[in-house]
């Protein structure tokens, strides 16, 4: 760790441990100061490689700084700052520490130059995210967090497996473009790990399952880091993989469809993250400079406006404690400011002109058009219309307008409003001055978003969607339904499979455990008893029997002694007779 270069991520991670020892206002200042200083550090960084370390015979690079990683580090640091401001009012030290660590880990992953440190930081991110979910301390949160952990462990292990395979084949751990190894086991494993992190269906079901369970402030951080760092990794390693295009497109549609069905506010937004990330994945898949620029830009802007939307929904949750759209409504009277800031986010996400979405999403869409993938172009535009429908219209309408259920919630605390304001300002700034963002993008940008035709097309699209929305308003009432998703598999399936396996194994275990008893008790002892019986009855009896035999013979002989002299005479005669006959005949 060369001293002159301080890794911004490390600042956040180590700084977090200082928080519990600070009191009251000094703690608040520190909470803001830490991310701010990290942002400043990132801004001051120039391209180059720093912090190379020799660990277990491997060459680890902690600080590989280039245009791509810089962009992502800016947005991550910025979001950490905004998130911390948003969470100033929360007095649970643990949440802050975890949030900072989470941010630090994301920065770490961005700057990671080799697979090993990337793996280390991504694992750290996974653990931090789980803790964020768990810190909500509701049983639902805890089980959701556990499922999140399991899946990310699986992801982590695939990454580790892939890294090890890659390392054993190439001998180096450098994290660079992998296209040369397309198709190899290592390539697939690493790709799968990042896809899981990027919440690509069917592996992405953890996102809508875990994010709504997090605390109001925690969710803001969750939206940003894990998915976008995965996108960053995909951009760096897997640009131009054909397959990603189709995955991206599918994600876009999948996210929108489920969002429309969804009733829980933050789960709707969570589904929508998947659809937006779909755009980025699709961009990476296309792989042209424009597409990659688009993906990066979209990631940048998406982090900001998605955080803004979550802050809005979080504020409402904070003040009203409600999650379901079906029991919200009529809040515009008491929370006008939140509504306004929320609408900025809504317009940004639906890529309305003068907002950041317009600037970044269109790059990806047009890159699809350039590489004449008509189908993809069509799908992406449809998805963006869907986005405007549910985030832009359905959610605000039912949350703020809709039936007035007499909820008289006040405005959220000041720091939340300030944070939302900052995010909204950023979105507008990028929307109005795209150059700000374009200059930071990894490749030269010669794309002009504000062409009249493009503006008109977008406005037309938005208008039609609005029209459609108001027309079908009655059908779109959110019912308290639970949408089935692939996470059913490991939520129900696994928990069902586990006891069956356990019962079977426990029985086997019991059997093995008892073997020694069975063998010892039944067989050995029974054989021993039978042999003892044999020994006593047969062999001993045989020996005693011989004794008995001699006894009976002697008794028999005794009977011959009748005392009658003539018998003796007869016997003697017989004896002599025999001898005589023998002598005579044997002559």
């Amino acid at each position: 760790m060369t001293l002159e270069w301080v890794h911004p991520g490390l600042v956040l991670i180590l700084g977090a441990w200082a928080l519990p020892f600070l009191k009251g206002s000094t703690k608040r200042i520190a909470m803001v100061l830490l991310p701010a200083s990290a942002l400043l550090l990132c801004l001051r960084l120039e391209a180059g490689t720093y912090g190379a370390v020799h660990f277990m015979g491997q060459e680890l690079v902690f600080g590989r700084v280039d245009r791509l990683s810089l962009v992502f580090s800016y947005v991550f640091a910025l979001l950490t700052l905004v998130g911390m401001i948003y969470a100033l009012h929360v007095d649970d030290d643990a949440q802050h520490m975890v949030a900072l660590t989470y941010g630090g880990a994301a920065l770490g992953a961005t700057f990671a130059g080799d697979f090993l440190s990337l793996f280390v930081f991504s694992e750290l991110m996974a653990v931090a995210a789980v803790l964020l979910v768990w810190l909500r301390r509701t049983p639902a949160a805890v089980s959701a967090g556990f499922r999140y952990l399991l899946l990310h462990m699986f992801g982590g292990l695939c990454l580790l497996g892939g890294v090890v395979l890659y390392w054993s084949q190439t001998g180096s751990l450098a994290f660079g473009d992998m296209s040369a190894y397309a198709g190899s086991a290592a390539f697939n494993l690493i790709l799968m790990a990042f896809l899981l992190n990027a919440a690509v269906p069917p592996l992405g079901a953890w996102l809508p399952d875990a994010y709504p369970e997090a605390t109001a402030t925690g969710a803001v951080f969750l939206t940003a880091f894990t998915t976008k760092s995965a996108v960053y990794a995909l951009i760096r390693g897997f640009a131009g993989t054909e397959m990603l295009i189709w995955w991206g497109a599918a994600m876009a549609v999948y996210g929108v469809v489920y969002a429309v069905l969804e009733n829980d506010a933050r789960r709707l937004l969570a589904y929508h993250i998947i659809s937006q990330v779909g755009y980025m994945v699709c961009g990476v898949g296309i792989g042209t400079e424009l597409a990659l620029n688009g993906a990066t830009a979209h990631a940048f802007s998406h982090i900001l406006y998605k955080a803004l939307l979550f802050m809005g929904a979080g504020a409402v949750l904070q003040m009203t404690g409600l999650r379901k759209l079906s029991d919200m409504g009529g809040l515009y009277k008491t929370m006008p400011l939140t509504l306004a800031l929320y609408m900025v986010g809504a317009f940004a996400i639906s890529a309305a002109p003068l907002f950041s979405g317009f600037v970044s999403k269109s790059m990806v869409v047009s890159s699809a058009a350039e590489t004449d993938r008509a189908g993809i172009f069509l799908v992406l535009t449809l998805a963006s219309s869907g986005t405007f429908l549910h985030t832009g219209l359905k959610l605000p309408y039912y949350m703020f307008f809709g039936k007035d259920r007499g909820l008289r919630a006040q405005e959220p605390p000041v720091n939340m409003l300030v944070a939302m304001g900052l995010a909204a300002a950023a979105c507008i700034l990028i929307g109005v001055f795209p150059a700000l963002l374009y200059s930071q993008l990894p490749y030269l940008v010669d794309y002009a978003p504000y062409t009249t035709r493009h503006v008109f097309d977008t406005l037309g699209l938005l208008g039609f969607t609005a029209l459609g929305f108001f027309m079908l308003l009655s059908h779109l009432d959110p019912e308290p339904s639970v949408s089935l998703d692939t996470d059913w598999f490991y939520r129900r399936g696994l928990s069902a499979a586990l006891p069956v396996v356990n019962r079977g194994l426990a029985r086997l275990e019991g059997f093995v455990g008892q073997i020694y008893d069975v063998v010892m008790q039944r067989y050995v002892l029974r054989v021993a008893a039978r042999l003892r019986h044999l020994d006593a009855r047969v062999i001993d009896a045989a020996a005693v029997g011989i004794g008995g035999l001699t006894q009976t013979v002697s008794w028999g002989l005794r009977a011959m002694v009748t005392g009658n002299a003539q018998y003796y005479g007869l016997i003697m005669a017989a004896g002599v007779l025999a001898a005589l006959a023998l002598a005579v005949f044997l002559q």
């Binding site: 050995v524 021993a528 008893a529 003892r532 062999i539 001993d540 020996a543 005693v544």
Partner: protein
């Protein structure tokens, strides 16, 4: 050699002692017996010290012509194989006198006289160098043992004594016939001459002689089918009787194989060694199984002796160096351990007057010193490495693997069962909760009893860690013995 006839003196000193006891009154009997046995032991020590380990020839030889017409001389001499046993007999006799110090109350003089006569017979048998004397001491041994069991035994002593007599006599009668046939066939009865100088007998004669001697030795060892007298004899014999019986009497049979069958009838041994191996393996496993099922402690240890002696015969008939050396070592070990076990059981029987395992339990809490001794001897009996019978079993099983691998497996199975029944006995008797019956009695050992057990403990440890002390003597004689009997199969050609 030394002009002073040390062997004759060692052999017949106990006889003199016995006569002295019978003449003097009862109170002095114990002390004279102790003095005589200790004297004999002292006498056998110089034997041990200046014995020349390198030569396999007989040492301390004494020869006096006795019956010229039968070419029989009164010959005494000792070589590597018989020396350990002489020392063991002397030692065990001392311990027997010590252990029956308070145990024997009635007819004390006759008891000690019988004990001393048996000692003479034992030492004489191992020290003699011709068949005639061997037979004479063999027969002499039966008489005192019969008396010991018959007079001072417990409940069914007469049955056991008569059974012992019948079995042993049946065997030795056949030996007598063999002896005479041998004399007739080869003209002399001297072991060395028979083994080396006289021309080898024809296979048929050798076979018949082998069978005749087998009968006598098999009953004594005891081998599998003819073993049923041993448990009865052991259960009924007094402690001293069991110690002598297990310690030395069983070894006379095996010693017979080594001294007579192997060197003099080598071709017959080649013919019969496979069935003998099977019999020994059967004895090991069968003995072990039946031991498992016993409920009476002494009977259990008796059956365990059958299994252990099965090992000895297994070792002898592997006919390769490590097997035979292991067998002889195991004979010494078995003498020590089983002798010690019987001493322990005798001591506890003296206090509780019951031999049923069910009546015992939790001895550790009531009699800690006794339990530690018993623990040590049980470990030794189960072949714990570092104690003496591990080395013996190691050599025997290694030899049997070389001769016939399946035998090795049976041997190992025997060892495993051996560990089970000994530790199970120990578990039931010593661990567990204290039986009500045992609570009142003053169970722990007094100084005399500890003194009797300590020498055996020392021997077990010394042989365990330094078996060279016994093996050193055997090496030369065993090589010479095996030279006569060419070993059957040397798979790995090791050693």
């Amino acid at each position: 050699m030394t002009t002073y006839p040390i062997l004759t003196f060692t052999t017949f000193l106990p006889l003199v002692g016995a006569a002295a006891i019978l003449l003097l009154n009862q109170r002095l009997a114990r002390w004279i017996a102790l003095a005589t046995t200790v004297g004999t032991l002292a006498h056998s020590v110089p034997l041990y010290l200046n014995f020349d380990k390198t030569s396999s020839a007989l040492q301390f030889v004494e020869a006096v012509p006795w019956i010229p017409s039968w070419n029989v001389t009164y010959g005494m001499g000792v070589d590597g194989i018989s020396l350990p046993f002489i020392f063991l007999s002397a030692l065990l006799s001392v311990l027997c006198v010590a252990v029956s110090w308070t145990a024997i109350q009635m007819r004390v003089r006759e008891f000690y006289a019988a004990l001393l006569v048996s000692e003479t017979a034992m030492i004489g048998l191992f020290a003699c160098t011709n068949f005639f004397l061997f037979y004479l001491f063999w027969e002499l041994m039966i008489v005192p043992m019969f008396l010991l069991i018959g007079v001072w035994g417990s409940a069914h002593r007469t049955y056991a004594a008569v059974k012992f007599l019948m079995f042993t006599l049946a065997g030795s009668v056949l030996m007598l016939v063999g002896l005479i046939a041998l004399l007739y066939a080869s003209g002399t009865l001297d072991f060395q001459a028979l083994a080396h100088t006289t021309p080898r007998l024809s296979l048929l004669v050798q076979a018949w002689l082998f069978v005749a001697f087998l009968a006598a030795f098999a009953v004594k060892v005891p081998m599998f089918p003819v073993h049923t007298w041993l448990p009865d004899a052991h259960t009924e014999a007094p402690t001293a009787g069991s110690v002598i019986l297990a310690g030395i009497l069983l070894k006379m049979g095996a010693y017979g194989f080594l001294r007579i069958s192997l060197p003099i009838l080598p071709d017959a041994v080649q013919l019969f060694f496979k069935p003998m191996l099977v019999l020994s393996a059967a004895a090991i496993v069968y003995g072990a199984y039946v031991t498992l099922a016993q409920t009476d402690i002494k009977r259990l240890i008796a059956y365990s002796s059958i299994s252990h002696m099965g090992f000895v015969t297994l070792g002898i008939f592997t006919l390769n160096r490590s097997g035979v050396e292991g067998a002889i070592l195991q004979m010494v070990n078995h003498g020590i351990i089983t002798g010690a076990l019987f001493l322990c059981v005798g001591m506890i029987y003296e206090r509780t007057h019951t031999r049923e395992i069910a009546d015992y339990g939790g001895l550790f809490k009531v009699a800690p010193i006794y339990s530690t001794f018993l623990a040590l001897f049980c470990l030794a009996a189960s072949g714990f490495p570092g104690l003496n019978s591990f080395v013996g079993e190691f050599l025997i099983i290694s030899g049997s693997f070389r001769a016939w691998p399946w035998l090795g497996a049976m041997g190992v199975w025997g060892v495993a069962l051996g560990t089970t029944y000994i530790l199970w006995l120990f578990y039931r008797v010593v661990l567990g909760d204290v039986r009500p019956g045992l609570r009142g009695l003053r169970l722990d050992l007094d100084v005399r009893e500890v003194a009797t057990l300590v020498p055996l403990v020392l021997l077990a440890l010394v042989i365990g860690f330094y078996p060279e002390s016994v093996l050193g003597f055997l090496r030369a004689s065993v090589t010479q013995l095996l030279g006569v009997v060419s070993g059957p199969g040397e798979i790995a050609g090791r050693l």
